[in-house]
């Protein structure tokens, strides 16, 4: 019987069946479940798995294993590849020994990301072949194949799923996981030492490998072709199914070329497809990667075919596609006219907006509230970072003034401090993000003696991405916990303060002390994430003493607090953090005993 697998599980399955020895990753939506799956199977497979400190280190570890002839998998989200870029760009020149596959999940929309960058473009920039799965089944098959391809070309290979592949489930026929093969071992050779002279030679080699990769892809089963008339569609990745469904709905048959290998685009199948056609629409999410290559190919071979897509405005470069987007584009392309609208329902009543926000019992709520209280009357800027705590920007806390990328809270704050000397800068960063990208800017702040308060929001997990471990924890045998306070002290931070952010009085006192300290100061607000810790209890509102002032709701915005008439009630999602009881001016909120 087939297995029901999420795309990310299918990718992990493909890697296990390819006989990987090592897997590394840093969590990031929509890629996190790849490593989670590999870890679940690790006791039986014997694969070495780790959540690395960041994506650059993850790639370097995998590359080291590959140098010794082992097969290795690195998984990350698209922006993780930016962090790893330095290693990846040079690795393309040096090449690999054992198969090395980077799974980089893109997030058109975006649903959970700061950018909609297209990893296929990155692959072209780096000179690395990339596979673009359309569904979990294909993600499984492509990942398995990618290791062999990597060894054929001696290059890292990128598999690029998107959210609708990674976070989609499908029935997948799987194979068997082989026992681990012995690793050949590292052979000392000057080829592993990059120098300008070697880089110059390897650049020529890398460019030749592009042709070899394209030749490999020319016979790839991941590209398929169906000829039906003189008008056609080329499509890649998740868009393939939007195209087939849209064509079904429109009741038209077009020639169709499905591309699973968008870079380097193989010449022969595309030339063969274009040769018989007059007009072609290229349907791909994000950047016109296939479109650009198809245009170049048609131009070079003088093919009399008109190529449409993003460049002539048939489809957008931004956002995620769906059947409706593609149907509308095909209607325009085929001049079918507008679809007659379905009989519409009357306009619905106004609906509540429901943006994501802190869970009931989230310690970040206490951290931001404490700093807002402590900073009252002062000129302050709160710079934020990437994680659940980014939601501190939402009302009613409104406690985040900047957010850019992993670790940027510390760097941005230092720049602001240099040009706004009268303003206090407070940089909020999560525990996992602190290790990922917070250490270099912390060293910089100490070295330059920049007056800055760094607040590490330590909820003892990487919460936003699904509760992965990080170096501040020892979650598995053999791991050692790296202590945030000791790291900061070793970096030369002199004021280091720790508090429980849900102990509001103490948290505000610590925040005041940090704000009053001259040099770089570091506050650790530590309290476990309520999604993993057992609830401490529950609170309730004494309806006789509640004065209907709504301070609790308006100050904290906790989802467990609900208005009931002119009073407030606390619902079953309460975890007993007690923050509302501490802000209630009437002492009307009490613990349920």
């Amino acid at each position: 019987m087939p297995m029901l697998l999420m795309g990310n599980e299918a990718i992990a399955r493909g890697a296990m069946e390819a006989g990987i020895h090592v897997a590394t990753s840093y969590p990031g939506t929509p890629a996190s479940e790849i490593m989670a799956t590999l870890m679940r199977y690790a006791p039986e497979t014997g694969i070495y798995c780790e959540w690395s400190v960041n994506e650059k280190v993850a790639v370097e570890i995998a590359a080291g294993a590959s140098y010794a002839g082992a097969r290795a998998l690195v998984s990350m989200k698209q922006m993780g590849l930016n962090v790893a870029a330095d290693a990846v760009m040079s690795l393309a020149y040096i090449g690999v020994q054992g198969g090395l596959v980077l799974v980089v999940a893109d997030d058109p929309g975006p649903h959970s990301s700061q950018t909609e960058q297209d990893t296929r473009l990155f692959a072209r920039f780096a000179g690395l072949p990339v596979l673009d799965p359309s569904c979990p089944r294909e993600a499984y098959a492509m990942t398995k194949y990618a290791f062999a391809l990597s060894e054929t070309l001696n290059l890292p290979v990128i598999v690029r799923p998107t959210t609708r592949v990674s976070h989609a489930c499908q029935d997948v026929e799987v194979g068997t996981i082989p026992p681990q093969s012995p690793v050949p071992g590292f052979r000392k050779d000057p080829r592993w030492v990059i120098m300008p002279s070697l880089a110059a030679r390897q650049h020529v080699w890398l460019n030749k490998q592009q042709q070899r990769a394209a030749a490999e892809f020319a016979a790839s089963p991941f590209n398929s072709l169906r000829q039906a008339g003189s008008i056609g569609v080329i499509t890649s990745g998740a868009s393939y199914y939007y195209v087939t469904e849209a064509l079904d709905r429109l009741g038209v048959q077009l020639s169709l070329l499905k591309i699973g290998t968008p870079y380097p685009l193989p010449e022969e199948p595309v030339k063969e497809f274009l040769a018989g056609l007059t007009r072609v629409l290229v349907v791909e999410e994000q950047e016109p990667v296939v479109e650009d290559q198809a245009i170049r190919l048609a131009w070079r071979h003088g093919l009399p075919v008109a190529l449409s897509g993003k460049h002539d405005g048939h489809l957008p470069r931004e956002g995620e596609f769906n059947v409706a987007t593609v149907t509308a584009a095909l209607r325009r392309f085929l001049a079918l006219g507008q679809e007659s609208p379905a009989p519409a329902l009357p306009a619905p009543p106004p609906l509540p907006t429901r943006p994501p926000l802190f869970c009931a019992g989230c310690p970040h709520r206490g951290s931001f509230y404490a700093f807002k209280q402590a900073a009252r009357g002062q000129e302050v800027i709160f710079s934020g970072d990437i994680g659940c705590y980014t939601l501190g920007a939402a009302p009613p806390l409104n406690a985040m003034d900047t957010c850019l990328c992993m670790g940027a809270s510390l760097g941005l704050a230092q720049g602001l401090a240099r040009v706004q000397p009268g303003t206090r800068l407070v940089a909020f960063i999560g525990d996992s993000t602190f290790f990922h990208a917070g250490l270099p800017p912390l060293v910089n702040a100490v070295h330059q003696q920049t007056p800055l308060v760094v607040v590490v929001l330590d909820n003892e997990t990487t919460a936003m991405t699904g509760h992965q471990s990080h170096p501040g924890l020892a979650s598995r045998p053999g791991e050692r916990m790296v202590d945030i306070a000791r790291v900061a002290r070793a970096c030369g931070v002199e004021t280091i303060l720790t508090a429980d952010p849900l102990d509001l009085e103490q948290a505000i006192a610590v925040a005041r002390q940090a704000l009053a300290s001259p040099g770089p100061a570091l506050v650790i607000f530590r309290h476990p994430c309520p999604q993993v810790a057992k609830p401490a209890g529950r609170y309730q509102v004494n309806q006789d003493t509640c004065i209907s002032c709504r301070t609790c709701i308006e100050e904290l915005g906790c989802p467990a607090l609900a208005p009931a008439g002119d009073r407030v009630v606390i619902d079953a999602t309460c975890t007993g953090c007690g923050l509302c009881a501490r802000v209630c001016p009437a002492a009307a909120i009490e613990e349920v005993v």
């Binding site: 939506t29 489930c169 998740a238 469904e245 149907t327 994501p356 869970c359 009613p396």
Partner: protein, 194 residues
């Protein structure tokens, strides 16, 4: 058969969609789902697309194609009505999860209007006091199982017991009894039959 499940992060929507998908696979049907995972889960508006018996199709249900809208929260049901096909059925839990924006008075939440809109505009709409049933089963957290139980009255392409078995596989043993009870309460909530 396309089923759109709508609700709020934390209501167990992913579990509901996985249980449906696993039951389909166990029954030998091809299946596609798409889930909301990540940032939006935190108290946000969440949907799962479940497509039973589809082969050459993507994971997203096209607007106007869902045979069933399973709403674990009334405003979220209303928000996603565009997915329902003409004459499609909706099964809606009547219990609101009031978002903080509404509690703060920055956003409306006209519950009575929403419920009456659903009932007067959708012939195939059944509203269910699902939270009462979940409490009766032992915990408000079993609301998703109440809804799955009620869903089995709308003619799924596999037996109800198969769905229950797959749902329980996704839950720790200590909560099986109350979730089984929730499923049965939903299943015998009657009215969903049409």
């Amino acid at each position: 058969m396309d089923i759109l499940i709508a609700g709020v992060g934390g209501q167990g929507i992913i579990l509901a969609s996985r249980a449906l998908a696993a039951a389909a696979v166990a029954a030998g049907l091809p299946v596609r789902t798409a889930e909301t995972i990540g940032m939006a889960q935190r108290e946000g508006s969440v949907v799962s697309h479940v497509r039973l018996g589809v082969q050459e199709a993507g994971p997203l249900i096209p607007a106007g194609s869902a045979a069933i809208l399973l709403a674990l929260e009334p405003a979220e049901g209303c928000r996603h009505l565009r997915y329902l096909q003409p004459g499609g059925r909706a099964l809606v839990a009547i219990d609101p999860v009031v978002p903080v924006m509404a509690a703060l008075g920055k956003s409306p939440y006209p519950l009575a209007e929403i419920l009456s809109y659903l009932q007067s505009n959708l012939a195939g709409c059944h509203c269910l006091a699902a939270l009462d049933l979940a409490r009766q089963a032992g915990s408000p957290r079993t609301l998703n199982l109440v809804m799955l139980g009620a869903l089995t009255n709308l003619g799924l392409p596999f037996p109800a017991d198969l769905l229950l078995a797959q749902a329980l596989k996704l839950l720790p043993a200590r909560v099986h009894t109350m979730n089984r009870r929730a499923f049965e309460l939903g299943r015998s909530s009657g009215g969903a039959k049409k």
